[in-house]
């Protein structure tokens, strides 16, 4: 099977460790991963802010770059949801490649049929199910089932886990007061767990919640769950 990594623009520039983690997990499981360098951005920022026309060349570029692969994996629930939910409506010929685009946990659990990826991570971790993964992709228990198989991990439940963190893309900038109020509540719930690591499937949401946790020097580290699945205990 030809698997391609769609890194997403935010991860490429600010969170390369997440992409490296996805690559390592898949190679450890015996798969070859390709990274087509012609990729840019899925266009979600533009489309969801009201610039659909400007987003269209990015949609076309995604189809051109990824159409030949059997499976495309993106370490982002939100970008995957943009492709799977919006692409077929924006550009009907994109439906086929959109259906072959998976969030990491979908690829591992549904396509490759694994839940134990051979990871070890000795930390107390709480997991926030980000909205688009939760309600658009319906990831369900997939990420948590993967995390439960990690050796040494102590998973603790997050209160009000399914409530949005308040990021919402440009919402955080257009409605800073409401976004900040939602963030404060999410950070409080995270700190109540006593976890040392907050994991999620979206680095954009984690930049927001992690940025709030750092601001208050909470000592909680925000981490994409792929990085936990890639860990083997040696370096973590």
């Amino acid at each position: 099977m030809r698997i391609a990594l769609f890194i997403t623009c935010v991860n490429d520039i600010a969170y390369p460790a997440t992409g490296i983690a996805v690559t390592r997990i898949l190679r450890r499981l015996g798969h070859t991963v390709d990274f087509p360098t012609g990729q840019t951005c899925c266009g979600q920022l533009h489309a969801n802010t009201g610039y659909r026309t400007e987003a269209m060349p990015m949609v076309h570029n995604y189809v051109d770059v990824f159409d030949t692969y059997d499976a495309i994996v993106a370490p982002s629930g939100s970008c995957t949801a943009m492709i799977r939910d919006q692409y077929p409506r924006l550009h009907p010929p994109a439906a086929s490649v959109a259906a072959r685009t998976y969030e990491l946990s979908e690829l591992l659990v549904d396509v490759l049929g694994v839940t134990d990826v051979g990871a070890e991570f000795a930390e107390t971790v709480t997991y926030h199910p980000t909205c688009h993964g939760l309600r658009m992709l319906r990831l369900g228990d997939r990420p948590l089932n993967l995390l439960r198989q990690v050796r040494g991990i102590r998973l603790v439940e997050l209160g009000d886990a399914e409530e949005c963190c308040g990021f919402g893309g440009t919402f955080a900038l257009k409605n800073p007061a409401v976004s900040g109020a939602m963030l404060a509540d999410k950070c409080a719930r995270v700190r109540e767990t006593g976890a040392r690591v907050l994991a999620a499937a979206d680095n954009s949401c984690l930049a927001h919640v992690g940025g709030g946790l750092d601001r208050h020097r909470s000592g909680v580290r925000a981490m994409h769950y792929a990085e936990i699945l890639a860990a083997t205990g040696a370096t973590s």
Partner: protein
């Protein structure tokens, strides 16, 4: 005036359908209003407690219905059918209701609807009306119009009464006084209700009893009642009001004249369609299996109840909504408020921030469509697109999809437009994107290294406007020492 306000072509026809008037416009942009609400700690505490209580109740009674998803599908399908043949169903309703003894009036907009109700009240020789809780009359600002005509309008729903006595506006579709706690309600009653007991306590039962005594005289003396309707049945001409307190039943049965203001989207084709909606509505709104009072009336019943029955069918922008195939499902709304109660933005901002009688997620898609998006441009952005509203909606309105659709029509700030265009120009070219990634990484390199030495993290803590919108609540990550594609190429 006896002709449908709804355009028959379904496409808007030669002339674009008119936009609506009344209380459906934000006086100030949502972010400004919401920031004030967020700063009000009492308001946030009241909303937090109330929305979470109703949310939990709704979840309990929805979870116990095995065919809930099938009911939602049925509700959505019936409403979609109504929207496809609205002009025909409206004429059928008019014929059925007229045959049963009601008089049907057609109102193009809020002003015309108010004028009709004022004229009918005057013709009945009344100087006051009692009111059943109704979103349509709040939308068209009927109380204000009646007052201007020298007619007193008395709200009889407990929460509407609180809001009216407090000279406030509703902040929730189902629970208009959700922004008050009981101590605040006692204070309003003591200040504004002349017959409130001197030793009034703030227990819910004491507050309800004071309101009950206060309202009883109004029910017995009123000659005209004004209501809305939850449903209007085309094949029988029946109107339906669903309520909890029994005040509605009093208003609908005691006065001689009954005037009902009904949005044209409230139609259902047949009486049996109620079977679906009377299951969906109470569980979604109050979190009850069944609401205490369901009143239905079909024109005039001789010697029983009001003998002079009027129905005012209001368009007020709804034809414009109908003309947009993507935005149209907003007309399926049954005003249950489930989307408000699950919305994390509504919970922090409160209803007044939306500036319209329709707050929360449904308001964010309905108000801009009724007025035209340019008049309510901040509302489609009053959401994180988290999708909780779509999951809760009993008629499956895809609110996030419509929000994104309306954002395409909203006027964009000049600086934002320029930034977005430059970014899109970069991102549509793999070569330019790779170059910009490298440039950002190199440019931010020294700053990132400095911040890492100083604070142990490659983040910024304080930036000038407009980036301050981010850094006032959270640190901002800087580009990593190497981009992913650089790592990929090196390995």
């Amino acid at each position: 005036m006896n002709r449908p306000a709804v355009d028959r072509s379904g496409t808007g026809g030669a002339v674009a359908p008119a936009t609506g008037g009344g209380r459906i416009r934000t006086p100030l942009p949502f972010p400004t209003m919401a920031a004030r609400a967020v700063a009000d700690t009492q308001l946030r505490a009241n909303l937090h407690r109330a929305t979470r209580t109703i949310r939990a109740k709704r979840a309990r009674v929805v979870d116990e219905v095995p065919d809930w998803q099938a009911l939602r599908d049925a509700g959505a399908a019936i409403k979609a059918d109504v929207q496809r043949r609205l002009p025909e169903l409206l004429e059928q309703f008019e014929a059925s209701a007229t045959a049963a003894g009601a008089t049907v009036h057609w109102a193009r907009d809020a002003a015309e609807a108010c004028r009709i109700v004022v004229e009918l009240t005057r013709a009945a020789g009344a100087e006051e009306v009692v009111k059943v809780k109704s979103m349509a009359t709040q939308e068209i600002e009927l109380n204000e119009a009646l007052e201007a005509a020298g007619i007193a309008a008395y709200e009889t729903d407990l929460a509407e009464l609180i809001v009216q006595l407090g000279e406030d506006t509703p902040s929730h579709i189902l629970v208009p006084a959700i922004h008050y706690n009981r101590a605040q309600i006692r204070e309003i009653f003591q200040r504004r209700m002349p017959d409130a007991p001197a030793d009034l306590g703030d227990e819910p039962s004491a507050l309800a009893e004071a309101a009950r005594a206060h309202l009883r005289r109004r029910f017995l003396s009123a000659r005209v009642a004004v209501s809305g309707a939850n449903f209007a049945i085309a094949d029988t001409g029946t109107l339906v009001v669903v309520e909890s307190e029994g005040n509605g039943r009093m208003c609908l049965t005691l006065p001689e004249t009954l005037i009902s203001v009904v949005g044209v989207e409230k139609l259902l084709p047949t009486f049996t369609d109620l079977e679906v909606f009377l299951q969906l509505l109470p569980r979604s709104s109050t979190g009850e299996r069944m609401n205490p009072y369901t009143s239905m009336w079909t024109g005039v019943t001789p010697d029983d109840g009001p003998q002079d029955v009027h129905v005012v069918l209001v368009d007020n922008g709804r034809s414009a909504v109908l003309a947009d195939p993507v935005g149209r499902p907003a007309l399926s709304c049954i005003r249950c408020s489930a989307c408000l109660n699950v919305c994390p933005v509504y919970e922090r901002a409160g209803g007044h921030a939306y500036g319209s009688v329709y707050p929360g997620p449904i308001g964010a898609i309905l108000s801009p469509q009724l007025t035209g998006v340019a008049d309510n441009a901040s509302l489609p952005y009053a959401s994180t697109l988290c999708g909780a509203c779509y999951d809760a909606c009993p008629v499956k309105i895809n609110i996030p999809e419509i929000l994104v659709h309306l954002r395409q029509q909203a006027p964009h700030p000049v600086a934002e437009k320029a930034t977005m265009r430059v970014l899109a120009w970069v991102m549509r070219s793999p070569r330019r994107w790779a170059a910009v990634l490298r440039l950002a990484r190199v440019g931010a390199g020294p700053l990132g290294a400095y911040r890492e030495r100083r604070s142990g993290a490659r983040t910024l803590r304080r930036l000038p406007w407009p980036a301050s919108a981010w850094t006032r609540s959270r640190d901002l990550p800087l580009p990593a020492p190497q981009t992913f594609r650089e790592w990929w190429e090196k390995q």
